[in-house]
C-alpha cells in the first residue's frame, strides 16, 4: 500500500512538473503572486513585533518563529491537498466525486495522492522554513531529538487540523451542493487569516473558541507556545496533535456518512470545471 502511495505521488509530481515546464511563464507569475500574498499575510504582525519589540508575552524572535510555523503548517496541506481535500466542497458540490468512484482504489487513497503538487508546495515552503531557522538561531533554540519530535508532531497536527476543518465544513456540500460549493475555501481562510496572531491577550472564552469552534489557534499559536516554552506543561505539547486527531476522526466519520448518502441521492448537479487540471 505504501508502495502504491509513493508510486502515485511520483505520478502526480510528474504531472505537476510537466504542467510547470509547459507553461513556465505562468508558473513564475503565479508563484510571484503567491509569494507576495505570503509576505503580505505576515507583514502586519512582523511589523508590530518589530515596532514594539515583541508582543508580550512573546519576544520578537518568538513571533517570527510563530509566523514561520504558521506558513509551513499552511503549505503542507497546500502541497498535498490544495487541489482536492482543502476544497473538497467543490468536488462534492460539482458532482465530481463520480470521477473518483470510477477509479479502482479506495476514495481516501485517491484523495491522499491526487492533490500532490510538490513543485508548487516546495517553493512556498522555503520562506516559512527560513523564518523559523532564523528566529530559532537568534533565540538559541536547542533542537534536541525530543524537541524535534515534538516539533514534527505539532506541525503535522497543525496541518492536519487545517485539512480536517476545511473538509468538515466541505461535507455540507453533500446537502447543499450549490450553496456550499466554496465553503471549504472559506473555512481555510478563516483558519489562516488568524494563524499569525499571538492570541494570549484575548479573554479565556475567545481563546477557547479559537482552539475549538474555529481552531485557528491550533495553526501556530498553541503549538508554538508549547514548543517555545511559553507554556510549560507537557500536556500542551500533545494538545495540538490530539485535537487534530479528533478533528480528523470527526471528518472521516462525517465523510463516511456523506458518502453513504451520496450513494443514495447521487448528485443533482454536475460541472466539469476544475476536477482535472
Amino acid at each position: 500500500m505504501a508502495a502504491r502511495i509513493l508510486r502515485l505521488w511520483a505520478l502526480y509530481a510528474y504531472l505537476d512538473g510537466m504542467w510547470i515546464a509547459r507553461d513556465f511563464r505562468s508558473f513564475i507569475f503565479y508563484y510571484l503572486a503567491d509569494a507576495v500574498t505570503a509576505v503580505a499575510s505576515v507583514a502586519g504582525v512582523l511589523l508590530l513585533a518589530q515596532r514594539f519589540d515583541g508582543i508580550p508575552p512573546w519576544t520578537r524572535d518568538q513571533v517570527v518563529f510563530l509566523l514561520g510555523f504558521g506558513m509551513v503548517a499552511r503549505f503542507v496541506p497546500d502541497m498535498l491537498g490544495n487541489y482536492n481535500v482543502l476544497h473538497i466542497s467543490r468536488r462534492i458540490g460539482r458532482g465530481q466525486l463520480d470521477h473518483i468512484l470510477v477509479q479502482p482504489q479506495p476514495v481516501w487513497m485517491a484523495l491522499l495522492t491526487e492533490g500532490f503538487a510538490p513543485f508548487w508546495g516546495l517553493l512556498s515552503l522555503a520562506p516559512g522554513v527560513g523564518l523559523m531557522v532564523w528566529a530559532g538561531q537568534r533565540m538559541g533554540l536547542e533542537a534536541t531529538p525530543p524537541w524535534l519530535l515534538a516539533f514534527a508532531l505539532n506541525l503535522a497536527g497543525a496541518s492536519a487540523a487545517l485539512t480536517a476543518y476545511a473538509a468538515l465544513w466541505g461535507f455540507a456540500a453533500f446537502f447543499q451542493p450549490r450553496a456550499a460549493e466554496e465553503i471549504s475555501g472559506s473555512a481555510v481562510d478563516l483558519m489562516t487569516d488568524l494563524k499569525g496572531f499571538p492570541l494570549d491577550a484575548l479573554g479565556p472564552g475567545l481563546r477557547t473558541a479559537l482552539v475549538t469552534v474555529i481552531p485557528a489557534g491550533l495553526m501556530a499559536w498553541y503549538p508554538c507556545r508549547a514548543l517555545l516554552g511559553l507554556d510549560h506543561g507537557i500536556a500542551a505539547l500533545w494538545a495540538t496533535p490530539a485535537a487534530a486527531a479528533a478533528l480528523c476522526c470527526a471528518a472521516c466519520l462525517t465523510f463516511r456518512m456523506g458518502m453513504k448518502r451520496y450513494a443514495q441521492v447521487g448528485s443533482s448537479r454536475y460541472t466539469s470545471f476544475g476536477h482535472r487540471r
Binding site: 508510486r7 507553461d23 470521477h99 470510477v102 477509479q103 479506495p106 443514495q264 443533482s268
Partner: protein, 345 residues
C-alpha cells in the same frame, strides 16, 4: 486476449443482473413567487421522482445491448447504478458476480465507463499524459497498455491528438480520446452513456467498428445508450427500451419493428399529380408526380397494390423501403406519451 489476471470469471453466462431495481430521487420544487420565499426556506416542497420502477434484465457475456428511451427515462441512472456510483433504492444489481457499490474498488477495475457529457482527460495535459495517468492508477501491465494505445490510435484515430492538450481538442476528438482511455485496461464490460455525442459520421463509424471488433472476441460485453437509433441498430443485436422508469421492451430490433409496426414505404412515380387511391396503403404525401404511401405490417401485398395503381394511371417508377428506425421509435414514444398516466414524471 489476455485474461490471466481475471481469474474467477466464467467465460460465458450472465454478467449483468438487475432484479426489480427501483431508484427514487427527491427533487426540490421551490415556488417562484416572491411571497413564498419564507415557505421555500422553512417548508421546502419536494417531488419524488421514480427514476426506475422495478427494472429487471440480464445481460450475457459478449452481448452488445442498446439501452434506449426518451429523455428522463432513467438510462443514465441505470448506468450509474451499474458502475457503482449509485445504490438502488430497492432491488438488486449484480455485475460480474459483485455488488457494484459494496465491492466498488475491485469491481471498477474490470469495467469501463464513458459518459458522453463528461471527460476523464486531464484538462491541461496532452492526451498522452492522461493515458499514462490511467496506466499507473489502474495498474495496467505495460504490454496491455501499449497494445490498447495502438487500438486507440489505429481505430479511433487518437494519434492525431496524442500531444494536444485536452482543453484544445474539439468535442469529437475529445470523445474519441475518452473512449480510447476507457478501453486501456481492457474492461470486461463497457458502459457507454451517449458515447457518440458530437462525433461526426466517420468517427461514429469508427466507434461502431471498435465496438463490433470488441464484441467479436466474445469476451467484452457492451451496454450503450444513445438517442441515435440507426447507430444503435447497427451496433447492437438487442435493445432494451425503458420508459418512465419501466422496462418497456427487451428484444432484437427485427422483432421491435414487427411488434410496433414495420412501417414500410412505397413510392410511386406516375404521370399524374393525383395519387392513385390504394386501399390498405396510407398516403403520406405527394411531391409533383411522386406519391409516398405507408404500408401496414409485414403482410401488405405490394404486387396487388401495383396492379391496382396501374389500373388508375401508368406507373413510371417504383421504390419500396423500410421506414427509418427513428420513425418506428417516434411512433412508440408518441404512443407511450399518450398512454402515460397523468402526474408521472
Amino acid at each position: 486476449m489476455h485474461r490471466s489476471d481475471r481469474a474467477g470469471t466464467p467465460a460465458s453466462g450472465t454478467v449483468v443482473e438487475c432484479r426489480s431495481v427501483c431508484k427514487t430521487f427527491r427533487q426540490r420544487q421551490p415556488s417562484e413567487r416572491p411571497r413564498d420565499v419564507l415557505r421555500n426556506l422553512l417548508h421546502p416542497r419536494f417531488r419524488t421522482i421514480e427514476a426506475l420502477r422495478g427494472v429487471s434484465f440480464t445481460v450475457n457475456r459478449g452481448e452488445v445491448v442498446a439501452y434506449a428511451g426518451p429523455n428522463g427515462a432513467g438510462k443514465s441512472t441505470t448506468i450509474k447504478l451499474l458502475s457503482g456510483m449509485l445504490a438502488p433504492t430497492s432491488g438488486s444489481v449484480r455485475v460480474l458476480g459483485m455488488d457494484p457499490v459494496a465491492d466498488r474498488t475491485r469491481y471498477v477495475g474490470r469495467i469501463g465507463v464513458v459518459f458522453g457529457q463528461r471527460t476523464e482527460l486531464w484538462w491541461d495535459h496532452p492526451v498522452a499524459a492522461s493515458y499514462e495517468w490511467k496506466r499507473v492508477v489502474w495498474d495496467i501491465p505495460r504490454e496491455r497498455f501499449d497494445r490498447m494505445c495502438g487500438v486507440a490510435r489505429d481505430i479511433l484515430g487518437v494519434g492525431e491528438s496524442w500531444n494536444t492538450l485536452a482543453r484544445e481538442l474539439s468535442l469529437g476528438q475529445r470523445m474519441r480520446a475518452d473512449l480510447g482511455m476507457a478501453m486501456l485496461h481492457e474492461p470486461e464490460i463497457l458502459f457507454l452513456d451517449e458515447p457518440t455525442l458530437g462525433l461526426d459520421v466517420l468517427a461514429k463509424r469508427s466507434m461502431t467498428r471498435l465496438v463490433q471488433q470488441l464484441s467479436a472476441t466474445g469476451s467484452v460485453t457492451v451496454m450503450v445508450t444513445s438517442h441515435d437509433m440507426n447507430e444503435l441498430e447497427q451496433l447492437a443485436g438487442r435493445v432494451i427500451f425503458i420508459e418512465s422508469g419501466n422496462l418497456a421492451y427487451d428484444g432484437d430490433f427485427a422483432s421491435l419493428r414487427r411488434e410496433f409496426g414495420d412501417l414500410r414505404r412505397l413510392v410511386l412515380e406516375t404521370d399524374s399529380a393525383t395519387p392513385p387511391s390504394l386501399p390498405g396503403a396510407e398516403l403520406v404525401g405527394s411531391q409533383g408526380m411522386r406519391h409516398e404511401y405507408r404500408l401496414g405490417g409485414g403482410g401488405a401485398d405490394v404486387a396487388a397494390l401495383l396492379r391496382l395503381a396501374g389500373e388508375q394511371c401508368p406507373v413510371l417508377d417504383v421504390e419500396t423501403h423500410r421506414a427509418p428506425i427513428d420513425e418506428v421509435i417516434a411512433g412508440i414514444y408518441e404512443h407511450w406519451g399518450r398512454n402515460r398516466p397523468a402526474g408521472t414524471a
